[in-house]
Symmetry: C2
Subunit: 192 residues, 2 copies
DNA sequence: ACCGACATGTAAGCTGTTACATGATTCC
DNA sequence: GGAATCATGTAACAGCTTACATGTCGGT
């Protein structure tokens, strides 16, 4: 029994069509909501394990002037495992936001330093939020196999998009609040 | 050089006052935004490493009828490391939401199964959102050392709270959408 | 009589990351 | 000439989890 989400994600993509490790890497990394570290190695080692456990089959295809491709297909056992996992209660969501941890001990910093830190974060979140909006605008690249599946994928993209918008509003509120402390400090200094 | 956030979180709490590993465990786990797995072991091993690297000092205090306590204090080097880390650009936030991954292959499920899955998630998110609201209502347990620090901690709590509210709205939108597919399916079946 | 809080640790194992290795083709 | 794409892998290491180990006190 395994719980590792990336292996199930691989089974999920293979349930659509046979794919190589390289294809899987592109498929997984293009979906922000699937959240993957970007370590392609993990995919190749996962495929070895999935094969060992009988969840996938593999055949090697030679190409001229290009490296050989290993094409993986889902076995019946793999399909069962996928279905079982989809129905199982998911792990609770966890948001790890290092910025919040930095902020917690940010009172050591000067107003300028805190402004720099939070400003950089605002810019980053702004960029992510814009990417989310852009993706929603041009229609999320969802599988178009059934209307319901399309809906599920659009909602998954919507989830990430909304999360970034919320974060953006929050960081702006934060910075407005910090500005007041800054102004207060400057007033004090002026009065001296 | 280390990047591990939990070690810096420990340094952060020790910058306020000397604490034991057990105290740290309680302090860290009580702050949702610091995001910690709950593995107390990690704290004890981190403290050993921090001591080895000269970031903390330790003295052992014997207690009668209770296990001895090891009280850790921040060294000057530790204080420098903390300040340096706080200023450094934080890792980008990452949200890993297993529910979204399940959803992505949820079209295999029946309407009833999907309703069960999303309903359970809604309940969980509802509970977390309620906890967040409750914490904001009774005033987040923030350190009250300076007004600015208090503000920073309240904003950190606010961040988590808003995130749960957004998630709650989203899951309700999802379930309303799924209901339509369900109704459509039932209509089709009725017409047959 | 049992559970939770107090208080710390070792050992084994699993997961995940980083560095390294190969090698052709196409685009700038 | 250098970077990116295609395509897969090994080896070493760092981080995190799980199981185990110990022992008292106070509440129900």
């Amino acid at each position: 029994m395994f719980i590792m989400s990336i292996q199930h994600t691989i089974l999920g993509f293979l349930s659509w069509r046979p794919l190589t490790g390289y294809d899987l890497k592109k498929a997984i990394s293009s979906q922000e909501f699937l959240h993957w570290s970007g370590n392609s190695n993990q995919i190749y080692t996962s495929l070895v394990k999935l094969y060992r456990d009988g969840f996938v089959d593999v055949r090697t295809e030679q190409q001229q002037n290009l490296p050989p491709r290993k094409i993986y297909t889902l076995t019946e056992r793999g399909r069962q495992e996928l279905r079982c996992w989809v129905q199982s209660p998911p792990d609770p969501p966890e948001a790890r936001n290092a910025f919040l941890a930095h902020l917690a001990w940010g009172d050591q910093l000067t107003a300028e330093e805190l402004d720099g830190l939070s400003g950089a974060y605002e810019k980053e979140v702004e960029a992510r939020a814009a990417m989310g909006r852009e993706r929603m605008r041009r229609g999320a690249d969802s599988p178009n196999r059934t209307p319901r599946e399309r809906f599920l994928w659009e909602m998954a993209h919507e989830n990430r998009s909304r999360a970034w918008e919320t974060e953006l509003e929050w960081v702006r509120t934060l910075r407005r609040g910090l500005k007041k402390f800054d102004d207060a400090g400057q007033e004090k200094r002026r009065r001296r």
